[in-house]
Amino acid sequence: MTAGSLAAKPASAVWYRDPFIRSIFFQVVALAGVIWVGWYLASNTIANMERQNIASGFGFLETTAGFGIIQKLIPYSETSSYGTALIVSLLNTILIAFVGIILATMLGFIIGVARLSNNWLVRRLATIYIETFRNIPLLLQIFFWYHAVLKPLPHPRDSLAIFDSFFLNNRGFYVPSLKSGWGTLSIVLVFIAGIIVTKLIGRWAKARQEKTGEQFPMFAVGLALIVGAPVLVWLILSFAVGYEVPKLEGFNFEGGVNIIPEFLAMLIALSVYTASFIAEIVRAGIQSVSHGQTEAAHALGLRARPTLKLVIIPQAMRVIIPPLTSQYLNLTKNSSLATAIAYPDLTSVFAGTVLNQTGQAVEIIAITMAIYLTISLLTSGYMNWYNARKALVER
């Protein structure tokens, strides 16, 4: 047989069996199907909206909202626009997600490490925690904390008081606040500045170590800058300007900061639930580092602490970070369950109250979904970037 006859098409090959033609055909069919479905849905929607006299467009964002929101991070009143309500509710979502992520991470790491403890009792308790909380629906946990624990608390008059300055009652958790308004802001600014400065020093320390081999106590310095500095500012401020302690005035407390029960319930439920997943991720991450690594580190003469810091944790983090990020994402998306207990988050205020008032379902659902989608895509984009950077370079 010659090469030519091998290269020639077999006699049985017919055009409709050609993979290339088939692939074109299937793709055209798929595309046509998608376009047809899109067109069908869009044309129906337009027709229905015309028939039901539903307004369209995004003009409603400028209209006065006319309803109040119980928790707001920026000025908002009933005369503000729907657009402002959107931003207020988005900030509330970000707030609960941010605080929830911090708490869940702390709790999750503690329990994940406890799960690997060589103390039998601690290990068992950690397992019980994980198996209990991750197998109960989050919504149920939110309901539990809100309806069964926080709402039946006593009225403000019979508040549970701690040091006569923290008060817990059915209106929420009242804590003292700094007297001047810019106090909190300056603490936050110092915190952010601390992070930036730590980052810069870290870069310098690394360069120095590579050049001279001298180590720099990075952890201590970082801790001092990120945690120490804000605490210092806080202490100075509290001596300088003092506190405003919540006081019972009539039926309710005045002054201080009120953490509303909806926020508390969401926060507890979200962090307790997500922590059980994070704990498993942490356990799996640490276990994924093979014991040979520890033995090799010991053979090199490293002690237990440097082994953990320089060998185990960096390798475990490579396994931990990607699923951890997706848990953060889950927590953010799960914060939309706030609508069930009326915590004023994006879904509850915007896809709930605003939707009911304006009736512009298409625009509002689209905006809501787009916001969550943006958060998700940004996070997964970051995760892909991180993975690419940290991936093992294989031969």
Partner: protein, 641 residues
Amino acid sequence: MADATTKHEPGEHPDLPAPTASTGIIGWLRANLFSSPVNSLFTILFAALLIWLVPKLLNWAFFDAVWTGSSAKDCLTSPDAACWAFVSTRWSQFMYGLFPEAERWRPDVVGAVLVLALVPIMFERVQFARLVRGAAFVLGPIFVVLLYFAFAGDGVQAWPFKLIILSLVVVALVAAQAAYPRLRRWLVGFLMFVFPIVAFLLLLGLSNDAVQAWPYWLMGLSAVALALMALLPRHAKLTDWSMRVSVALVILFVIWGLALPSNWTVGLIYGVGAAQSQGPTVIIAIAAVLTLLPIVVVVALLLAPRTRSGALDRFVLLCILVGILAFFGNMLLIQAWDPIRGDSPPWAMAIAPAAFAVAALAPWGYDRNAGLPGRIALALAPLYLLIAYWVLFGPPDFFNLGMLDWQANTVPFFRGVQGVLPYVETPLWGGLMLTLVVALTGIVASLPLGIVLALGRRSNMPIIRTISVVFIEFWRGVPLITVLFMATVMFPLFLPEGVTFNQLLRALIGVALFSSAYMAEVVRGGLQAIAKGQYEAADALGLSYWKSMRLVILPQALKIVIPGIVNTFIGLFKDTTLVGIIGLFDLLGIVQAGLTDQKWLAPNVPYTGYVFAAFSFWIFCYGMSRYSQYMERKLDTGHKR
């Protein structure tokens, strides 16, 4: 004991026992609880916590709890403990929602059938001895509790005995399928093709419309029969009884076609008549011819020689073409016919020819010699189910499309059926039953959809890949609650005027789309984990894409990701609680609704209700996660590190 001072020859020294401090209970305690001062401190701290907490919890849940009563007054007799009276009074509501009391045997039967078919499949090839041991360990204590309940109240209760019998039958089936592997195949087939229909029929019942649409029943039953034929061995020949079944089906369809004055065969005559006065004659004529074609083809089919497979191939291909043509021809006809009748297009009629063609084609799907057309016919298998579904349940409830008036056509027999299974509309469904319906439908729908999406995402056709990626990332990027909101407020806008969707169905679609995206990512993980050599080996063997996927890649990939799939199922099961937010009363929803009852306003009632709901969900989720661990161990053919 050997004296330590006794001298021994080298190598003759008897083995000494290990030091007492490192063996037995003391050794265990030293190693596991008091290995270091810090550990000892933790142990004492947590032990103290447990000693303080556990009796409190036990008192709350059992010893101080209120077990009987009828209102909050009874609960207040012990306000610091659980009030199980709340749960027991509302037990049936928590299980069935507002499902009419007289009809509650129906969900029971569906549940029992599900357990009977599913459990044997779950425990494949269990050793007999292990099975007996496991059953004795697990079921023994449960039986004791059940027997206690049977005799605890006034008189003997029947339900514990029913449960005992059911579990014994399940154990027997598990044992039987280990001995007769064929039973398993039948159970799988039953679960895939028959159970959904049985479950739906039993849960929803028959509305008057459904009873009156008796011709659809014929069609539906035929389609079920076709689906059952998918279970036939692959080597069935056309001359086998499968062919005869097919012929019987064709005859059924013809009867159906002729039996109805308002049916398409007769509509055809009207259509042609109308053509002369109203519509464009040519269209009507073409439509009429196309609609009649299937009959001609089926007759020709029955007479066709079946000697050479090549001829058969072309013939079957022709049948498919005719089926498609007939479908569109029928639509045309309906369009032309519409103004005369003055009602909206009876879409269901357009299904008839398609079903007709499929019915005629089915046997070729099971013949090795059938080639590509046969495979197409086989690929249409899901369509049979779709048709069956539409035909059986479609007209009255789900697609409120302008249906013909079947009243005039009801035959006495079906009039008799009326009232046997009264229609229970879905707003009455609730409780655990609804939770299970939503979860199971989501699970069943999301797995195949997820596999298709995962394959699409791994495809090297750019458009298919892009569509899959966009679909998956969209659903994964938004919270389920916004999906459900969309299903509630936007689905009605998506559909043509007058078409309404049942609330439950809307939620089901939302849940299925949402979880299929997650499923797709899990399956994709499995596909990526398969070594490239496997793909190349499959190609080298000359397997087509679908064959290499079906025979080589997917079995390995799905096996790897079983834990991931079960985790997705667990997530889906927990997520079913969200349907409560859009107004369906699942288990959590109905417990929550019960808590607002004025009659049960007591401080311990919310705790009781939530703990009950939490425990119910926990049982299912924990059971699933244990099962996934069991499967992981069982399927682990590799080596443990």
